[in-house]
Each structure stands twice: as C-alpha cells, then as structure tokens.
Amino acid sequence: MSYLEKEIEAYLNGEMTLDQRKIFEKKVADDSEVKKELELYIEMNTIYDETDWEVTSSAIQHPKVLQHETFLKSDKGKSIKKSIANAEKVYFDKEKSNRRKQYFLRYAISIAAVLILGIYITSKFGTTMDHNNLYMKHKNWEELPSLTSRGNNTDLTKGEKMFKQQNYQEAVKIFKKHQLESSEDINPQIVVYVGVAYLELEQHKLAIESFEQLKESNTLDATKAYWYLALTYLKMNQESKAKENLQILAGDTTAYKHQEALELIKALQ
C-alpha cells in the first residue's frame, strides 16, 4: 500500500481537511501520474457501482471514439442503422398482427363459447320447458275420484277440500293421519292423493315412494301408478324413466291412460 493510495482514499472518502485537500489537488494538477492514479480510482467507484454509469463526454477526441463515429457516419454504418430500423418495424408489425390474431382468436373463442353455451342452455332449458309443458298438460287432478263419495268420513272430506284448495301440506297431514288410524290395509285412492300432493309440494322422492307403494299394492288401481310415476319423472325432467313407465301403459291397450301414454311418448320423441 503506497502512501499515494492512502491519500487518494482519504481524498475520495472526504476524510481530508480543507487544507489537505488543497495541497492534494495541487499535487494532482502538477503530477500526471498522480492524476492517472486518482482517475482510475474514480473510474472504479463509478464503473463497479451497479446503479451508476460513467459518462465520458471528455473522450470525444479519443481515437476509438473517432473511429466509432467515422464508422457510424459511413455508408455501411448508415445501412446497418437502416437494417435495425427495418427489423424493428418487422418485429413490431408482426407482433401487432399476432396480437390482433390472438385478439381475434380470443374473440372468436368467446363467441363460440357463448354460442355453445347458449345452444346448450336453450336445448336444456327447452327440453325442461317441454317436459314441464307436457306435465302441465297431462296432469289433471280434477279427475281424481272424490273421496267424499266413499262415505261420510269427515277426515277424508276435509283432506280432499284442502287438496282442492291446493293446501297440499295440510292435505298430506290429514291423509297420513287417516291412514295411520284406519284399519284398512291400503286405500289406493288416498295413496294417489298423497303422492300427487307430494308432487305438487316438489317432494318428488316422497311422491315416488307413494306411487311405488300404489304399484306394489294388490289393488285394481295398482297399474295407475305407472301413469303417476311417468308424470313425476316428467316433472323431474327424467325423460327416460318417464318413458319406461309410459311404455308399460302403451303396451297394454286396456291399461289406464293407454291412449294418453301413446300420445305422450310421441310428444317426447
């Protein structure tokens, strides 16, 4: 470590007094070797600082700079500059068109997606609508045999009344109570009422249970269950299951709602 190095360090770190600085600066001015040494230290401080850059406008006359400048002003230099500008244009035009292409592609995909979704929804919605329409068309609770005619049982009359007033909740409650208290094995007509009430209450599972109960019952009305089950599945938008039940009715000319079942099958196709 030379004394000069220590001096330079002290000078650059601002560790000199004003007088010391003046003396050192004079030394730099008088001795070109000292000057070079100081310059190199300053260069290192700037060049190795990653956030800084050494701008050397003082080097305008340096042969290397002149050489570079001459080249840049030459025909070759100018043609290279043109090529770069040209390449830039090509690159950005291409990128722009790519972006446009991508944009269009994305746009097209969106449209396609919307269309597909739309078709899906309308078809899905459409069939739902169709099924619902068919259900509405074919459900006809008015034709359910009146329970009153079967006697003067006030409970059943009351239940039927509730049913007709579309108070299905209350109707179910009354019919269930009656069934529990009744000594009869199964009253198929009450079972139908209960099932339909559940159907109207959107309690499809319970509705199916009731109609299955009817189907399993050893009564004349048992086959009517297929019709009600068909309607239930139709309402539930389960076309194939609805059809299954309808086929049974359609295959037997004497079956309950045979004609209607045929019509409904046709409508479903």
Binding site: E5, E37, Y48, D49, W53, T56, H68, L72, E88, Y91
Partner: protein, 190 residues
C-alpha cells in the same frame, strides 16, 4: 443449428446489417429488455430506444477485428441493453440537476461515446473477475455502497476495521490489474 452456430449467426447479422437476423434478436431479447426497462423507471418507448441504440452500439463495436463474445450472445446483448439504459438514466439525471443547457450531441457521437464506455466497462468487469474470489466479494459489496459494518456481517469479518483494510488491499490489487492491461492504456491515451 447448435447454440454456438445460432449465436454466431445473430452476431454476424448484426455486423452485416441483415434485417432478418436482427428480427431474431428482437424476438429473443426484446421482451426481456422491455421487462427490465419497465422495472427500472422506464416505459415501453424507452425500451424500444434502448434496443435500437444497443444494437447499433454492438454492431459498431463488433466491426473491430479483435471483438469477440465468450459468453452467450443473448446474455452479452442483454447486458449491453442494461448498460445503455443505465447510461440513459444517468444522463437524464445529470440534465435535470444541471441548470445550464447541455448541447445535445448528434446521435453518431452519442453512440460512439457509449460504445467506448461500454468497452471500458467490459474491461473492468473482466479484471474484477480475475482477482481472488474473496477480494471480488468484498469489493462488489463495497462498490455498491454497502457500509463497512454490513460487509463485516455479510462476510463474517470481526471488525469494520478489518473490512476497511481488506477493501484497501483488494482495491490496490484490482487497480494494478487494470492499469497493467494494454487495453486500459489504449482506452486512456489521447
């Protein structure tokens, strides 16, 4: 094409001014430059400007017979772009702080100066990579303005004073390495 062949193709395109090769350079490196400039206080237009200047600058430098790239073209060119941007930032800062109007130098001279500075920068990087690893570590932290106490913590030195002495010694070694290189003399002579 191997990587090396591809790199040579890109450099040759730049030396000869072959637009299609330069487009390839744009494709490979411009997105990185854009990202770099935008994350260092620049905008898209700055990135485009940096890219153009760096291409012209590197082409100018590469016209010299002794010019060669030992690393990948991509890395080398990206570093050039970073340096061009640092130069721009430094200049705009100087322009802002100086009240007096600085004469705008014409573009050729600007690029010529930047190319000269770049050459000096490359030489200095080469030299710092030639000294011992320990010195390099100490000096890189020191030149990036890390306080002595922090350098001591980072590199496990007992005291700040030890770091001070270490920095002093390493700087002296590095300075010698630079000064004794012919290229430095060439760059300094007027």
């Amino acid at each position: 094409m191997t990587n090396k062949e591809y790199d040579n193709y890109l450099l040759k395109s730049l030396i000869e001014g072959d637009s299609s090769g330069i487009v390839e350079i744009y494709k490979r490196i411009y997105p990185k430059v854009l990202r770099y400039v935008c994350s260092h206080d620049g905008a898209e237009d700055d990135a485009k400007d940096v890219m153009q200047k760096a291409l012209l600058l590197l082409s100018t430098r590469a016209q010299q017979k002794e010019f060669s790239i030992t690393t990948s073209f991509e890395g080398y060119f990206f570093t050039t772009c970073k340096n061009v941007w640092r130069r721009e930032v430094k200049q705009s800062r100087t322009r802002v702080t100086n009240d007096k109007v600085i004469d705008l130098i014409h573009e050729e001279r600007e690029i010529a100066l930047a190319a000269y500075e770049q050459e000096k920068w490359v030489l200095f990087q080469e030299k710092i990579n030639q000294i011992s690893e320990n010195c390099r570590k100490v000096l890189k932290l020191f030149f990036n303005k890390l306080p002595y106490s922090k350098i001591a913590d980072e590199l496990g030195y007992a005291t700040e004073n030890t770091v001070r002495q270490r920095v002093f010694k390493c700087k002296s070694k590095l300075k010698e390495a630079i000064r004794s290189d012919v290229r430095y003399k060439e760059l300094k002579e007027l």
